[in-house]
Every structure is written in C-alpha cells, then in structure tokens.
C-alpha cells in the first residue's frame, strides 16, 4: 500500500534525482558519510514526528491523520505554485496555515464529539487520514509529476562527502525549530501553559484553561508542524500519496520509542531509528527501512510500553 521511501527522500517512491546518496562515495570518508546522513535522517524523522508528539502530549489525541496532513500540505503548496503561480514563500506560508486550519477543523467538528474515547479517537483519525490520502489519490495525485523545487539548489562537498544544500538546511532549520520549541515551552507564558496541560489536564481545567480550545490550538499547531516538515522535506523527492502512510508509521515509531507524549524522547527516538535505518541501508538494503521502524515499534511496546521517557506505566501501577 505505501511506497518504499529512501532514507533521505521523504515523499518519493523513486527517490527523485539522487537516490541513495550513501552509495555514491563509498571509499572516501565512510564514517563521515555515515554520521552526516545519520544526522540528516534523524533530524528528518524528528521533524516528521514533531507534530504528532505535540498533539499527543498536549491533548492526548493520537492523530493518525498526521501523515495525510503532511501530504495534503505538500499538495496545497504545489497547487498554489503551479496553478495560481504564487511566489514560493507565500505559497509556503499559505500551505502551513491552511494545513493548520484543516487540523483545527478536524478537531472542532469531529474529534470534539469523541474526546476521551481512545479507541474511537484512533479509528476516527485513522479513517480521516485514509479518506484524505485515498481521496487525493483518486483526485489525481499519482505518478512522478508532482515536485516542489528546493529552496537552495546545488550541493557542496563536506569532508569528501557530497551533500546538497537542501539537506543541510533541513539540519539547520530542524535544529533551530527544536531550540525554538524548547525556548517557547520553557520561557514563554503560553508555552508553559501548554506544558502544564500536557502534564495534568484536569488540574489545568480547574485553573480555568479551556481544554477544548487548547486541543484545537494543539491540533492546529501539530498540523502546521506536519506541513512545515512536508515543505522542508518534499523538495527532496516527489509528492506521492504513499508517503502519507509511511510518514505516519515513522512518526508513531519515533514517538513510541521515546515514549508517547515526551518531546525530548521523540528526538532521542528519532536518532535511534535514524541511525538504525542508515546502518541497515548500508549493510542490507533499503527494503529494510520500514522493517526497522515497524520492529522498533513492536519491540519497544513489548519491552517497555511507556518508551524511554514515558511516565505512563508508573502511574498505572498506583491503581
């Protein structure tokens, strides 16, 4: 059902122009290459999962429509660029806002009615995601014709390894995003409030924080982050609907390893999976990328369901 996605070309079944760059330069600086692409891959994964984690940590909603929103935003930007001929930066901003708005709508009209029923939440968000993805496919989002141009064309040789600017910018922007998010949640009033809700929703409600409003906001921000990731990552390949599925799986994998709802955990989880993927790609084949992610989910859930940094289990023990 979903296409195979090469390590660094999130969104393409064929890998765009430069598929599997890790093989291109095997002799020179294998270590550097491994580290560099490992970091790129890890940051990519954490960008992908950021929206999912944020929504779950603030409003305890497993947003299974995450992957669909990711691909939707890419399509919106493509439409704005190619059909309306808007300049790239404007299209990007509109794309992020529109996706955020869709996320908010999903909560406001659907999820608000089934809040708290975990299973209904999963089934409903999953169904919404499927509807969006398959709707896009039916609507003509097929084949290799849909691409976004990179912001920074060209590439550079770093310690004997060729890297294009787009990938470097992903690392830089990703790191900046994490830093910004950290500062926001630790030093900004609204961010602190969100963190408070993430820790104890009931207590927050008693302090007069409207939990539905924050859920709308969290879903909007989460969807916006999905769009943000999409716009950064999609220029590396084509916009294909299959990516919707794999993005969801990667996001879940990262979050489960780090512990659902833990932001720091998600980043650590992303690095674990990111490097594991690069390793399997180097030694086995790129077929195993998804296997790594799926196995990571299953093994984590079996050994330590709360993940590396989750607190779920400890609370449950208190009956």
């Amino acid at each position: 059902m979903e296409g195979r996605v090469p390590a660094c070309g999130w969104g393409s079944a064929a890998g765009g122009g430069d598929a599997s760059p890790i093989r291109s330069n095997r002799r020179a600086g294998v270590i550097v290459e491994f580290l560099l692409y490992g970091i790129i891959n890890s940051i990519t994964l954490s960008l992908l999962s950021l929206g999912f984690t944020l929504v779950y940590s603030i409003s305890r909603l497993p947003n299974f429509a995450h992957g669909a929103l990711y691909i939707t935003s890419g399509y919106i930007v493509w439409l704005l660029l190619n059909r309306l001929g808007l300049p790239y930066p404007i299209a990007v901003v509109i794309g992020i806002l529109a996706t955020g708005f869709i996320g908010a709508l999903i909560y406001r009209f659907i999820l608000i009615r089934i809040r708290g029923m975990e299973i209904s939440e999963i089934i409903a968000t999953y169904a919404i995601g499927l509807a969006i993805i398959e709707g896009l496919r039916w609507g003509g989002l097929r084949g290799m014709t849909f691409t976004l141009p990179p912001f920074f064309p060209g590439s550079v040789i770093l310690a004997g390894v060729s890297v294009d600017y787009q990938r470097l910018s992903i690392v830089a922007i990703g790191a900046l995003t994490f830093l910004g998010l950290y500062l926001f949640t630790h030093f900004n009033k609204l961010g602190l409030a969100l963190r408070g809700i993430a820790q104890d929703e009931r207590a927050a409600m008693m302090l007069g924080i409207d939990s539905d409003m924050t859920a709308v906001v969290s879903l909007a921000i989460g969807s916006g982050l999905a769009a943000f990731a999409a716009i950064l990552l999609l220029p590396l390949g084509n916009i294909v609907v299959e990516a919707g599925y794999s993005v969801l799986i990667y996001a879940i994998a990262v979050c489960i390893i780090g512990g659902l709802g833990s932001w720091g955990g998600a980043i650590v989880g992303a690095f674990i999976i990111g490097f594991a993927q690069i390793l399997t790609e180097a030694f086995l084949s790129s077929h195993f990328q998804m296997v790594v992610a799926l196995l990571a989910i299953i093994v984590t859930l079996l050994l330590k369901p709360s993940g590396l940094f989750g607190k779920q289990k400890e609370l449950e023990e208190r009956v």
Partner: protein
C-alpha cells in the same frame, strides 16, 4: 404540547431478556428476525444464480463478515481493539496455501488445518503484546500486518511479491458458497452463545475491569490469549477460504481492506451486537462492489461513513433497529 412516547412491546417488558414464550405469535416475534437472516443467507446463492458475478461477491462478503465478527468480539467483548484484522486473514491464507501447494494437502483439510495452526501462530505472536492496553494494543496490532508484508517483500520468501499461485479451487460452486455461509452462521450464533456462557462473562469482565478479574484469581493474560485464539481462528478461516477461492495467496491478503472494512462494518452495524457486524458488511461490501469503477474513492466512502457513524450515530444500525423492533412510539398530549 405533544411529546413522543416510547413503549416496550409486551414480551420485552414482561421478561427483560429472559423470554417466557406463551404463544405462537411471540415465538414468531422472537424467531422472525433470526429466521430471516438464516434462510436469507442460505437462499442467497440460489437467488443470485442469475447474476454469477454477484454470487461471487456473496462469498467475499461472508469473508469480510467473519473478519468483522472477529473484530467485534475482540473489541467489544474483551476490550482488545485489534486494528490488524488483515494479519489473521494473511496468516490463515498463507498457511492454507503452503499446506495445499507445498505439502499437497487437499482443500477440505488444508482450510481447517490453516485455521487451527493460524490461530495458534497468531496467538503466539500476539502473546507478548497482550498486557498492553487501549492505544498501545491498537498501534501494535496495526503494525503486525505491515511488518509481515515488509518481511515477505524484503526477504523475498513465500513467493515474494508474486505470492503463491496454483492453489486448488473448490470442486463446485455449491461447496464454494456453503462452505463459507454455514461457517458464518455457525460463528455468528456460536459467538452469541459463547459470550453469554460463564467463560464469556469472564471475558466481558476483562473488558470492564481487568484489575478486578485479576483480584478474582483469574489469569487475565490466559483469558486474553483464549480470546485472541478464537478471534484469530475466525480470521484465519476467512483467509484460508479466500486463498482457495482466488487460487492464489499474496501480500494483498494483509492489505488494508481486511483491516479497515470490517472495522467500518462493525461501527456502522453497531458494535457489541455481533449481528451488527454481519449486517454492516452486508451493506458495505455490495456497496463497494457496485462502486468498483470509482477505484480508491471507495475507501474514502467507507472512511467518511465510518467517521460519520462514530461521531453521529455511535450505536450503529443494528442497535437502532433492535430498539425499533422491541418498542413502538406514539405521540401523546402533555
């Protein structure tokens, strides 16, 4: 001022579920809907002889109904929401294909064998995740079919992406139809009986409050494993049957269809009624066949229907119909 008044019909209000039947009319009242389903299903292949294409759809519909039953049983009577119904179908299907083509076992043995061994295998694989609850169990079960697909692809085993072809077909059309219809009816009424047996009540207890079951000296993991075994057996039978119907086993057996359509059917038909699962599939699958030329748009239709039912009418069609059957409404002056 007028308001609507809902009144239970005589037999319902007198007995509250424990029926004391006193007349032919009441027997009919109770048996009517059941007979309608049984006789209707048994006659269906005859009626559809005029339209051979649709006769085949009946078979597939029954397979989906089985998977839906297994989902409904596991989710609403044991509290394990298994999003990977396709996993059971796939395991059963592949096993049956292996038994039939590699070992040369005839279909009337390979299907039961695949059912039992498949159920064992699935239970064994699910064993480690049985302590998980809610979201976690749902996620992990969603991943199982995907993982198996990827492993088959990556290692290129069991025929890889081409699948296993050359599986025996059924000797004639009647065997083909009634193999699945009879099993469906048996499973439906068997499960309904089972969930009201003492052991079924224990399973329902696990759903309501597993701590309390534990405190009652019952090993919850054993009970969950039993439930998964039953549920997986049902799914595996569906898969094994399907393989012989298509004469082919491939990774499409693990496909999303077998995970999402049964769930949609249960939600639409009414979760926790078991019959609802069957009714739901009997609405959804023919609908999706009729819309075959819409391609993937059908999935959009299921998903929209599914979401709409979850949000707007979470009780489902069957619960609604049952209420209408047992009650009548009238307007009264206030």
């Amino acid at each position: 001022m007028r308001r609507k008044e809902r009144i239970d019909r005589g037999i319902k209000v007198r007995t509250e579920g424990i029926y004391a039947i006193s007349s032919m009319r009441e027997i009919l009242y109770l048996l009517g809907p059941r007979l309608l389903l049984i006789v209707g299903l048994i006659l269906l292949p005859f009626i559809l002889q005029l339209a051979p294409y649709w006769a085949r759809v009946v078979n597939i519909m029954c397979v989906y109904a089985l998977v839906a039953l297994s989902f409904d049983f596991l989710a609403n009577y044991v509290g394990l929401v298994c999003l990977g119904g396709g996993f059971f179908v796939g395991v059963g299907g592949y096993l049956s294909a292996i038994f039939n083509t590699y070992l040369g076992i005839p279909f009337y043995l390979s299907i039961p064998l695949a059912t039992v061994f498949g159920a064992f295998l699935c239970t064994l694989l699910f064993l480690p995740c049985l302590p998980l609850r809610g979201v976690y169990f749902a996620i992990v079960t969603l991943m199982y079919p995907l993982l198996l697909t990827r492993i088959i692809e990556a290692f290129d085993i069991l025929g890889g992406t081409n699948g296993i072809s050359g599986v025996d077909s059924f000797p004639n059309q009647y065997v083909e139809h009634y193999a699945i219809i009879v099993v469906l009816l048996l499973v439906l009424f068997g499960l309904r009986r089972f969930v009201n047996q003492d052991i079924g009540l224990v399973l329902r207890g696990v759903k309501d409050n597993d701590q309390s079951v534990r405190a009652s000296g019952i090993n919850v993991t054993h009970m969950k494993a039993l439930a998964v075994f039953i549920s997986a057996g049902i799914g595996c039978f569906g898969g094994a049957y399907l393989v012989h119907l298509y004469m082919w086993a491939g990774i499409s057996l693990f496909a999303l269809d077998f995970s999402i359509i049964p769930i949609a059917a249960v939600v639409i038909g009414g979760g926790g009624t078991l019959v609802g699962a069957v009714v739901g599939t009997f609405i959804l699958v023919p609908l999706s066949e009729a819309l075959r030329n819409l391609g993937t748009f059908r999935i959009v239709i299921y998903c929209v229907a599914l979401t709409a039912f979850i949000v707007l009418k979470s009780e489902g069609i069957m619960v609604y119909l049952q209420r209408k059957y047992h009650q009548f409404e009238r307007w009264v002056k206030v």
